[in-house]
């Protein structure tokens, strides 16, 4: 066991650092804390990485992955976080991509993987329903076979950024008579331009439009869009959720967040003393850093065991719980640091425009909005309560 980078790894780090410096889109500078980005902004870095062949480092090489070791992937995340890079969205690269190359047929791989890698095709996730959140397996959206099509009916919710999506992956019930709710679910790829799909915005408490309701009425989808076997979608769904969870730790990003928090706390003052020099606040940052270190080493251990051939298992629930708690704490402390200037509303309202933007120092913009927004992280991807249930059941055997 040791923590040192080899000379090759240092050379790799220099290479990616240089690449990021020379190629990271200038128009994305400073975009870090905004949530209301355009499709083009979301995809700008993804497209550059797609051309370079670096958009999906975790994928097997034969499908377009980089073949990097877990250490190299760690270095890659760190270097991107250093510049607050806007990384490819998870829906294609981290979620449906691995499902397609693991369970899909050759035709599906050929058709869908290139667009995911290049960033040309935007994916969204049709999992949750109004009545099926934590209890995902109780989902009611149906897909009924009609000749060489499935006809899908139902309502999905929390479909993140579906307003931009070209394709979606949907969990649908194909066997209503199955003995257990987990049986009889299928994993189906749907072209979001198919007639019968309606995407309606849901406004969140911070004012952003990140998620949607997606209504499906007699949506006809070719049978060849079924991934794997009919009625076995739950297996793929669980596989995907485990992948989603491991990416959710966000260690590198949180490290950068701590750095940013330090800068803010150096600029904000209490009675003329920088906030960061007050014992109260300095200790809070230290505590956060200690928690983040614990998370980082837990993630490194997980990556090492993945590299040894074990896929992400129930341990990834630890990363989800601790990672999201840290992300939330970061925004909480940022809001605390900016004092009164957390109050101006940065996104504004229809009647007044965004007059609250830029009222205080730049670092105070969206401090409260980000804090409100990040409450979602302990709810999405399987709530933190559900993660604890998974650990309790799968690891403790309770």
């Amino acid at each position: 066991m040791n923590l040192d980078f080899t000379p090759e790894e240092i050379a790799f780090r220099n290479e990616v650092r240089e690449f990021i410096r020379d190629n990271y889109p200038k128009e994305l500078d400073g975009i870090g804390t905004r949530e209301d980005l355009t499709r083009e902004e979301f995809l700008a870095w993804h497209k550059v990485l797609g051309k370079k062949g670096w958009s999906a480092p975790a994928w097997p090489e034969k499908y377009g992955g980089t073949g990097w070791t877990s250490t190299q992937r760690y270095i890659w995340s760190e270097e991107n976080a250093r510049v607050d890079a806007l990384m490819p969205l998870p829906f294609g690269v981290s979620m449906v991509g691995p499902v397609i190359y693991t369970f899909g047929n050759e035709e599906q791989k050929e058709r869908h993987l290139p667009g995911i890698l290049s960033g040309d095709v935007w994916w969204c996730q049709g999992y949750s329903e109004p009545g099926a959140g934590s209890d995902l397996a109780s989902l009611k959206t149906t897909a009924v076979r009609d000749g060489d099509h499935y006809v899908i009916n139902g309502q999905k919710t929390w479909t993140t950024l579906a307003q931009h999506a070209d394709w979606g992956f949907f969990l649908c019930r194909t066997d209503p008579d199955a003995k257990k709710p987990q049986e009889g679910i299928s994993f189906i790829l749907v072209d979001m331009n198919t007639p019968g799909i309606e995407v309606k915005p849901i406004k969140l408490i911070d004012g952003t439009h990140e998620v949607n309701e997606t209504w499906l009425t007699d949506v006809r989808v070719p049978v060849e869009n079924l991934v794997g076997k009919e009625n076995e979608g739950w297996t793929y769904a669980k596989f995907l959720l485990a992948h989603e969870r491991s990416g959710i730790a966000g260690v590198a990003r949180s490290k950068r967040g701590v750095e940013r928090l330090r800068n803010i706390a150096s600029e904000e003052t209490v009675d003329g003393t920088p906030l960061i020099e007050t014992q109260d606040f300095a200790r809070k940052i230290s505590q956060l850093e200690i928690d983040l270190t614990a998370l980082e080493f837990t993630e490194l251990r997980t990556l090492a065991s993945e590299a040894a051939g074990k896929g992400p298992g129930p341990e990834s629930s630890i990363l989800k719980v601790k990672g999201t708690e840290i992300q939330q704490r970061l925004t909480e402390l940022t809001l605390e640091a900016v004092g009164y200037y957390g109050a101006p509303y940065g996104y504004g309202m229809e009647a007044t425009g965004n007059e609250g933007f830029g009222v205080g120092p730049d670092h105070a913009n969206f401090a409260a909005e980000s804090y409100f927004n990040m409450r979602k992280t302990s709810i999405y991807g399987g709530s933190n309560e559900i993660q604890r249930n998974i650990i309790s059941k799968m690891i403790l055997g309770l």
């Binding site: 919710t157 849901i202 004012g207 004092g339 101006p344 609250g356 709810i379 309560e385």
Partner: protein, 384 residues
């Protein structure tokens, strides 16, 4: 000892709660908050009609003879309804200063506060002052018999709707000296005042207020020149008690909504309220709310005691309520799941208001420090 409310206080509570139920439902509030002006002057007029704006003032001053407990009753109901109209800035702060002002000031301004014609905002915070009420870069320089004000006041809540400001400024000494602070009353339309108005994340309106060579007469000074800080602390402690009561009202509703949701929402074939892990969290929310009520009563009842007792009580309440508000707000959202994150549901708006209350008039850390410093003053001198 008596924890009962008077008949008048119960009447205020009942009539206000009816008014909010009938005319301040969540959808109406949403429209108001998103409208161009962001508030309803006609609602303010109704508050005046109910006597809310007069309630905490003595009969001698033309009020109804109540006090901070009446303000507490009002603010708790306002917290339940997420009322945005500027009761704390105008009545508790504006009125709080003016009732301690000269007879002429009372006559000129206080009756207007009580009738609702005068609306005050309290311009005390500054971009670099954080929560230290004496950390002032705004200056008031002596000019003949009067003063000339220069400076920038930050996040002045209710300023877009105000007719007048209470302004704190340095008249002598160095930045952060406790001496040399003076309180002024200034009409908003005075020459040299400009504002930048904006909405706040919790549905209010505020302004940055800029003073550029604003000339005021000697009669604009409230209290003593250079010795304004004790007065400012007295009034802000009253404001703290008032927003603690508001937080209690907001926590009550956020908790009730959460318990209700946990009864309705079914997952895994049962209401989620049947899960013990959520039951205990909702019990913790309940206990946090109860502790907050206790601290609000305590701080309100001690507002008239000696200075150290009053300050410690206000700080203690603000600490406890800051912590409780964070817990109750976060858990209310969490237990509502994705629905708690939506703008459509009221619960997220309670969470936002509870979050912002922590920063108003000093956050948890600030008041923990203030409490500690005051406790040290209380310690007997080291054994000789």
């Amino acid at each position: 000892m008596d924890f009962n409310f008077t008949e008048e206080q119960t009447m205020i509570r009942d009539s206000l709660s009816r008014l909010i139920r009938e005319q301040y439902d969540f959808e109406t509030r949403r429209k108001v908050v998103q409208s161009e002006s962001g508030w309803r002057p006609e609602m303010w007029a109704q508050f005046a009609e109910l006597g809310l704006l007069m309630a905490p003032f003595s009969e001698e001053d033309g009020g109804l003879g109540g006090g901070p407990i009446d303000a507490m009753v009002v603010m708790e109901e306002f917290g339940k309804g997420l009322v945005v109209e500027p009761y704390v800035p105008s009545v508790v702060c504006g009125g709080g200063f003016l009732k301690r002002g000269s007879d002429a000031q009372k006559e000129e301004y206080l009756s207007g506060v009580m009738s609702g014609e005068n609306i005050f905002a309290f311009a005390y915070a500054e971009p670099r002052g954080r929560y230290n009420l004496a950390d002032l870069e705004t200056t008031a320089k002596k000019d003949g018999a009067g003063f000339v004000l220069n400076g920038h006041k930050a996040v002045v809540v209710g300023a877009p709707w105000a007719t007048h400001f209470i302004v704190t400024a340095r008249t002598s000494g160095d930045r952060r000296d406790s001496n040399g602070v003076t309180v002024f009353v200034v009409a908003k339309d005075a020459q040299g005042i400009s504002t930048r108005d904006y909405p706040t994340v919790d549905g209010r309106r505020a302004s940055e207020v800029y003073f550029e060579n604003v000339a005021v007469g000697a009669e604009a000074v409230i209290g003593e020149v250079d010795n304004g800080l004790p007065l400012i602390e007295t009034v802000t402690d009253e404001a703290i008690a008032a927003i603690c009561a508001e937080a209690c009202g907001a926590m009550k509703v956020a908790h009730a909504m959460t318990v209700d949701y946990s009864r309705q929402r079914k997952q895994f074939g049962v209401a989620i309220g049947k899960f013990q892990v959520l039951q205990h969290r909702m019990v913790d929310m309940f206990m946090e709310h109860e502790q907050s009520i206790s601290m609000t009563y305590m701080a309100t009842l001690k507002l008239d005691e000696d200075e150290v007792t009053r300050k410690k009580a206000a700080s203690a309440a603000k600490v406890r309520i800051g912590q409780a508000g964070r817990f109750v707000g976060q858990e209310a959202v969490q237990i509502h799941g994705g629905m708690g994150m939506t703008d459509e549901l009221a619960v997220g708006h309670y969470f936002k208001r509870l979050t912002m209350i922590d920063a108003e008039f000093g956050n948890v850390d600030h008041h923990l420090k203030r409490y500690t410093a005051l406790s040290e003053m209380d310690l007997p001198a080291a054994a000789e």
